[in-house]
């Protein structure tokens, strides 16, 4: 049972998270931006000198950069998907975690989307992948999974950005009323004149579920498409029908893990213990555990299928992965993604944030390594033994990777600085839903809260 003053405090807390900026924030932002800049510089070098600066070679033509691409696409999944599912489940915890999860999604795609471009041998021609009528009278090859990517990613970023913005509208409006000066003006204009009338609300309540409904299948399809980049090829270790569910599950898995980390940081940084509670983490941890079990099943199935596969190359690859020179990679994946999450069976771990963070971190790491394993080991152990090769990332690739994480963090920090990281309206809804069973009241209370922001209580008078 939440304290009755919650509805009142939420406004203040969110406003605080936006207006009060500590030196720690600036430092962190500066560091993040620094990393992003470093990555940018590394890429500029590659553009000028050539891909020889990477560690790639024949036969390993894809490496760390593609790993990052898949990883961030994966990360992007939890957010919107989770938030949308929770929305339909009318889950009380959504109010606390939905917003930052959605933000994480959008930002993760903005990061992931860079990599296919960075990775081009001639990045300045990336627009050739877009279907537009041109003087050369040729179109992209619609058979190519890479072209599917273009569509999948652009539509996903559009929809999830809209979904996020939609959810923000009431909060923007409310902040717009509360704040003066540039900020106030900014929020008022961004809120598109949302004033919280019953008419607006009923439209809002109609529109929101539509987005939520679109997001779920889209999320599933997007990562299936990404998995087809691999599954559609004939490379041993890639060419497998299990890849789509494999990647989607993996995506949600890594996404939840990262969500846990971000929420924990957020909670600490802005002291939001009232809104992001143990119970939230508990549920997320259960979700992560469930996903981990699915992943374990996938790993087992995959190895089983391959080792008893007719194709010699396929079999050799998997045996080599498990016992060959690359075995450490494989087993660390198993440890991080299948063993460590089992701790979440214990409630102590689920509610003890420190332990949970360790697990979540291991999972994030494990998922990155898993993508690296899929990309690199498959390529280095192909059909022609005379062409087997090896790959180690060059410092340029590492710089770009660091840059990507820097870029991601930077954007996320800017987001939570500019926008309320917890849905004000939903928090209030949730509270009213708990205080009075009548959802209608919850609504009136809601726009009352917006109309007369100073004291939420008066609206009942």
């Amino acid at each position: 049972m939440t304290s009755p003053s919650l509805a009142a405090t939420i406004d203040r807390d969110m406003e605080a998270s936006i207006t009060r900026t500590t030196w720690r924030f600036w430092l962190a932002l500066f560091v993040a931006a620094g990393f992003a800049a470093l990555g940018g510089w590394a890429w500029s070098q590659i553009l000028q000198v050539g891909f020889g600066l990477t560690g790639l070679d024949t036969p390993v033509m894809w490496g760390t950069l593609i790993t990052n691409f898949v990883f961030f696409i994966g990360v992007s999944h939890a957010g919107t998907l989770v938030s949308a599912i929770l929305f339909f489940a009318r889950s009380p915890i959504r109010a606390g975690i939905g917003r930052s999860a959605e933000a994480m999604t959008v930002i993760a795609i903005m990061t992931a989307g860079l990599f296919p471009v960075i990775h081009l041998g001639r990045a300045w021609l990336c627009f050739w992948l877009l279907p537009y009528p041109n003087e050369r009278q040729i179109w992209p090859n619609f058979h190519s999974p890479l072209v599917w990517d273009v569509f999948a990613i652009t539509s996903y970023v559009t929809i999830s950005a809209l979904f996020l913005y939609m959810g923000l509208l009431p909060d923007l409006a409310s902040l717009g009323r509360r704040l003066r000066g540039v900020r106030g003006w900014l929020y008022r204009s961004l809120s598109l004149g949302f004033s919280g009338t019953d008419g607006e609300w009923s439209l809002y309540e109609k529109a929101y579920p539509i987005f939520a409904g679109v997001v779920i299948p889209l999320a599933v399809s997007v990562h299936s498409v990404v998995s087809w980049d691999f599954a559609m090829s004939i490379t041993p270790g890639w060419h497998s029908t299990i890849f789509a569910p494999y990647f989607v599950a993996g995506a949600i898995f890594s996404g939840v893990a990262l969500a846990i980390i971000l929420l924990a940081i957020l909670r600490r940084a802005y002291n939001l213990h009232a809104y992001i509670r143990e119970s939230h983490f508990d549920i997320l941890a259960r979700l992560m555990l469930a996903m981990s079990l699915i992943m374990t099943l996938v790993y087992v199935t995959e190895v089983f299928l391959s080792v008893f596969h007719g194709e010699r190359a396929e079999r050799d690859l998997y045996v080599w992965r498990m016992v060959g020179s690359q075995a450490p990679i494989f087993w660390s994946v198993i440890f991080c993604n299948s063993i460590a999450p089992l701790l979440c069976f214990s409630r102590r771990v689920r509610v003890d944030l420190r332990l949970l963070l360790v697990v979540a971190f291991l999972v994030s790491l494990g998922m990155w390594i898993e993508r690296y394993m899929i990309v690199v080991t498959s390529l280095s152990h192909g059909y022609d033994p005379a062409q087997w090769g090896s790959y180690t990332p060059s410092r340029y690739e590492l710089m770009i990777t660091a840059g990507a994480f820097g870029w991601f963090t930077m954007l996320f920090m800017i987001f939570v600085k500019v926008f309320p990281s917890i849905s004000i309206s939903e928090t209030k809804q949730a509270e009213h839903a708990q205080s009075s069973p009548d959802a209608g009241h919850a609504q009136s209370a809601e726009h009352a809260a917006i109309a007369i922001p100073t004291t939420a209580g008066e609206s009942h008078a």
Partner: protein
């Protein structure tokens, strides 16, 4: 994402669409100097004197390259014709020194394009189809864009091959 796109736009602008085919450095002597630049008037040769194109661009019908007449060929006529004119005297001086004038290029294709004059002449195209009415130009200027779309349009109209490999090497 927008940020990313912005970066790319900048890039695309910066780098332009480079050809896939880096070039060996051009020959040192390709730069013109006062001695080797000699005025040439197509309207005089092809126009007033109605000399057919192939008379000077001899290999246009037998080779992918149309060819520019050798100095010896020029002197073939100019030993007698207009030998009193200053430019011609400059030319014959060059010839004596075993040197050649350097003509500015008007039409030029990137190295990744394969173009065969002989096949286009065989297809019954008139030189003017691409080069315009040179007979009327005292100073030849480029009349056609020489861009892929321009080639494609004509190839499609005339049912010529539109396979990439036909024209790209």
């Amino acid at each position: 994402m927008l940020a990313a796109l912005a970066v790319l736009a900048g890039l695309a602008a910066g780098t332009g669409c480079k050809s896939a085919t880096a070039q060996p450095a051009p020959a040192p002597a390709a730069a013109p100097d006062a001695r080797t630049s000699i005025p040439f008037d197509h309207s005089l040769h092809a126009g007033r004197n109605a000399i057919p194109c192939l008379a000077c661009h001899t290999s246009a019908d037998k080779s992918p390259v149309a060819g520019i007449p050798s100095v010896r060929r020029c002197m073939g006529c100019h030993r007698f014709v207009a030998s009193d004119k200053q430019p011609i005297q400059a030319l014959s001086q060059l010839f004596k020194d075993g040197q050649a004038p350097s003509w500015p290029r008007v039409y030029d294709l990137p190295d990744h394009v394969y173009f065969s004059h002989r096949m286009h002449i065989r297809a019954g195209l008139d030189c003017s189809k691409c080069h315009g009415n040179v007979a009327a130009m005292s100073k030849v200027t480029r009349v056609s864009p020489m861009k892929m779309g321009w080639c494609m349009t004509c190839h499609k109209q005339r049912g010529a091959s539109t396979e990439c490999i036909t024209c790209h090497k």
